[in-house]
Symmetry: D2
Subunit: 378 residues, 4 copies
Amino acid sequence: MPSTFGNALRVTVFGQSHSEAIGCVVEGLPSGFAIDRERLSAFMARRAPGQGSWSTPRREADEPEFVSGINHDGRTCGAPLAAVIRNTNTRSRDYDNLLSVPRPGHADFTAWEKWHGNQDVPGGGHFSGRLTAPLCVAGGIVIQMLKTRGVRVRAHLLRVAGVEDEPFRAGLRTDAELLSQQIDALEERDGLPTIDPDAGERMLDAIDAARRDLDSVGGVVECVACGLPAGVGSPMFDGIENLVARAAFGIPAVKGIEFGSGFAAADVRGSENNDPFDATPDGPAPRTNNAGGILGGITTGAPILFRMAVKPTSSISRPQDSVNLATGKPEVLEVHGRHDPCIAPRAVPVAEAVCALSLLDAWLSFPPEGEQFTLGTN
Amino acid sequence: MPSTFGNALRVTVFGQSHSEAIGCVVEGLPSGFAIDRERLSAFMARRAPGQGSWSTPRREADEPEFVSGINHDGRTCGAPLAAVIRNTNTRSRDYDNLLSVPRPGHADFTAWEKWHGNQDVPGGGHFSGRLTAPLCVAGGIVIQMLKTRGVRVRAHLLRVAGVEDEPFRAGLRTDAELLSQQIDALEERDGLPTIDPDAGERMLDAIDAARRDLDSVGGVVECVACGLPAGVGSPMFDGIENLVARAAFGIPAVKGIEFGSGFAAADVRGSENNDPFDATPDGPAPRTNNAGGILGGITTGAPILFRMAVKPTSSISRPQDSVNLATGKPEVLEVHGRHDPCIAPRAVPVAEAVCALSLLDAWLSFPPEGEQFTLGTN
Amino acid sequence: MPSTFGNALRVTVFGQSHSEAIGCVVEGLPSGFAIDRERLSAFMARRAPGQGSWSTPRREADEPEFVSGINHDGRTCGAPLAAVIRNTNTRSRDYDNLLSVPRPGHADFTAWEKWHGNQDVPGGGHFSGRLTAPLCVAGGIVIQMLKTRGVRVRAHLLRVAGVEDEPFRAGLRTDAELLSQQIDALEERDGLPTIDPDAGERMLDAIDAARRDLDSVGGVVECVACGLPAGVGSPMFDGIENLVARAAFGIPAVKGIEFGSGFAAADVRGSENNDPFDATPDGPAPRTNNAGGILGGITTGAPILFRMAVKPTSSISRPQDSVNLATGKPEVLEVHGRHDPCIAPRAVPVAEAVCALSLLDAWLSFPPEGEQFTLGTN
Amino acid sequence: MPSTFGNALRVTVFGQSHSEAIGCVVEGLPSGFAIDRERLSAFMARRAPGQGSWSTPRREADEPEFVSGINHDGRTCGAPLAAVIRNTNTRSRDYDNLLSVPRPGHADFTAWEKWHGNQDVPGGGHFSGRLTAPLCVAGGIVIQMLKTRGVRVRAHLLRVAGVEDEPFRAGLRTDAELLSQQIDALEERDGLPTIDPDAGERMLDAIDAARRDLDSVGGVVECVACGLPAGVGSPMFDGIENLVARAAFGIPAVKGIEFGSGFAAADVRGSENNDPFDATPDGPAPRTNNAGGILGGITTGAPILFRMAVKPTSSISRPQDSVNLATGKPEVLEVHGRHDPCIAPRAVPVAEAVCALSLLDAWLSFPPEGEQFTLGTN
């Protein structure tokens, strides 16, 4: 079974929750780029466990070792970049009973149906949320590369447990400056990644309440990418929506995705949902952005905007009905081990990672004809 | 730019709205299958224009000619199956002004940005909804193949212009019989594809109202696939959600997709959203189906359930602001030609087609280990 | 089973010898190119049956109909180009006994082992040499596109039945002018495609002798491509050799391929086989070209040079030992129908086609960084 | 630029000669297989440097660490298998002058043309023969897997510096036992991998002579795979020849490949080259094997047989003409560092690796319909 996506830019993710290491191979990265390791660490830290009261105490550094793909000058060299992150807490015994009793809402059961007992069970094996760490290594590098061309990629928690953050101001061309300020604000936020700090506080309260109930909550992550030129992408099956959606559903717990006005578009009329074009000094440009920056799979030049639904963490400590796979008998399962009561906050940088990876892949693979991506100055 | 998707089963779509023909090549179809041409025609007819007052008068037969892939006995032969549908209304003059003035909400603008004037403009070119006809040819055949293994695939209009149909009863294992009856009912429906005929009537009224206003409406299509074994699919980027989503966003006007409880999962707790397992005579099985039949990208054996958001038809007859690409000056555009005031009804069989194609591809490419798909008896 | 190759430029071939039609879909062609139909027909004619005494009387025009991929101005439009060639002699009865008695040296037997009787047998089905016609459609277009950038692709019969033609003068940089004259001469040749007309005459005699003996002969085709820039291709599995070889083995009857000095390199020393570099006004360039224009999978700027071994036509009229698949009993087979006593001459333009397709794919997919292929002026 | 090949079974190779590590990711391996680490080490040792007088003193253990893909029981688990081999001699200074003066016959020049100085130069970077070590890790595992189904894969030196070994007895069905004995003998050979020990001795002498002359020699490697069922593979571009050739040209220094009678087929008549079918207790089978076990890209059940041409090592210590890339001036280059005077012996296990990987990929991806590969008992 493959764990690969992308065309001209291709990412392969490997590892299990309790294998020796996890990591990724990235093929097709532009050469000559000096990765800012400090910025990458800061990006990785946003996904790491143990960032606050809503998460478990941090135990692993998650620093990737780049074992290949870097030249003698410390720059990308055109050969596949391989990053390895050691698992320091391998072979935990917390998971012993999961070997035979699948957790509701988790892939334990389907992995068993697929590999008939050969799968690596502890910690979720290859299905673990931990596999998003190498995705963030690859994505964090690509975010830096896109930055050299003026593209900014940012996500926030739009909703958690019923608490709403202010949405991105990505719906009006004339709001570009306001959107930029929202992104600036998010870059400086310390706690939960919300535009409105107060919303973040209330989300924390709601998450805490779920934790005290031995339960969990889900959320909606909203992601924006500004600065992409028009003309990137492809009709039909390799459009921006197709590529981003395929990658986003690779994030465990994501169960829905929508672009621009998304599901809300189903309830309005065409005259409201269509984005009229204005003549601007830079040429025609859409006035509004219900399209989420994409028409016919191809970028319009307006911000790419999407939202993903993140289900509540399936590993909860409450007793749950399950079945012992060995005996076929019902069994009440209590999941031990530490789990995030809400995985959505840590999914925020992962959303940025898959967005950036998909967009750079589209730009390299399906550029406006004759205008392939090249690196700008750092 | 490719127009291909799939792994072991691969579909390539070709054609433009006004080219000589449109069609598809399907590689990897199991051999020895006698296509039921009558059933295929009936399936195609559900997508065809001109079915009722909510659509334009039918003008094209849309009968595919199978130019290859069939053996001397009329069965699939293992070689690529190519289907060609002639365009009989090519080179219409209705679209003349679209050559230089892009329709808001349509891909005219992005195609121009991508191909700098070389794209084929009339009727939307390769972006036309007409390209879903070959998708339905491929999908209609695969629906028949899946049927030999007891898999049923069906979609309906869950919502149009605020009018709601009864949802699929796919959330409880014990509702299987009720779900089956809903599918039976849909198979016998004549008008709009709704489970509740009354909802269909009210949707028609709402669509008519939009048409009278020279406007359009969108909708939500819900699709279910029952009878798939557990263990089909792959973790990460080739799971059922990834494959279905990638294909579904190939349908023009789709702007969102969700599986199982989808976006609603973001607002409930894990204890509500997790599906407990029951011991059944056939082994462990999920009691509820908030997962939409998919955990970790792999089928649970419960019905696959997803919903797609279809935006209102972008081609409307009201005057809209646009820009003349040749002069760079603003221009008010009035779109002539006949267009569906709501495209969602015709997207219903297309949803079934992409669902079936993605599921058979998953079954052939990523089966439960050692249990690859083979045809059952017709 | 797929019949597709290529990355950014992808070719899918469909059809059987006796299906309604054969054809191809080409995805990723640069847009804005006006195909010279006359030159394409001339190219196709070199592959067509019935060109001379060494071939069967011509019966089919093999003119492709472009059903998609061309815009209103007659230029490529960025959407997939689909070409359909009708089979006018379908369902011949010449092949009746082949349904159950496989021809030695042909794929009848392996197709039966693979598809258990479902395969399309008459005329070789999807394995027929006739499937090289759509390859030539795709390749003929791409040869024209490469020409706009100064790239010439040409092949000839290096050897047939022991008769040798003069080889290409592609081994010395200073011979560029001589090589160019050889290509010029081949462009004007009427009979068999040899540089030395006398060699062509003697090959004809040898082929005639084989025909009179109800037998067949093989040959070696040599192909050259001049004018490619240095830096095209990729290390390891997507280098020029990998791409060309993968495509070339798609031509029925090809059983070997070698680049540059090829198998002869195995018998010389490094000091003889290495190509020293000279300082030239255009920068460093290899003095000799034992590498066949490729080092590490990447072009050196010297001519790409390869040779393919074409086995003798397997369909011969002599009685041959075989086995009846239905009864399992031995049976002596006499193959009726008209067959070329030597397929190598018609493989010459096909070699050019796969060479051009592979090179443009490499140039689009793996260009010198930042220097992707764009069309020159026609 | 990708370094990946395969379909259902996919191998990605990473690393540079002097990066921290080299390695591979293998996706799609059947689960539940316990790798015999001792046998794998023995296989890797055949490729390792320092095996005898014809090679340099061994310095690196080349033991792969499996960082993922193995479950808690030590068996393959269905998730991607990642193997990492540390480079212990990184950042050597032997290669300083190669940074600006490309070695004739090596990829230094083309890498510079491709990446404009960003490539990793020392030791050949990603082009180094050292990258065949991870190929052997992947291939060595797959050879073990194929063994469980009775498939044996073996290669030998057919020719080095004009010295010929006895060829494989793979041309007559009735020679199966003799072929088996040849393979047995090769499995027990200590020195150069030849069937005739005396040929090995004479090859060693010829290699020594070249070394004393500060020069190098090439060779031909012949590889056989016995025991594959009929019906594996695909027509056109995914046949056995296509897949093996694509992978084989990923081995540095390979410049040609031929299957069965190969180039010799070009010089005989069809009546000699066709393989007649016999009725055998196991069904129809080819009497001779000029086809090398492949017709129409699909296995016949006879041994797969191919030969690859390996050019003489390009890194030789003799002074060679080159050009300084920085100054553009001619410069005489003397390559320091230790290099094998003949790389062909170490290419022997690599040929087995790419053969096994390609064949298992074909068996998993394109099996006889309904008969996909499953592991036998170990």
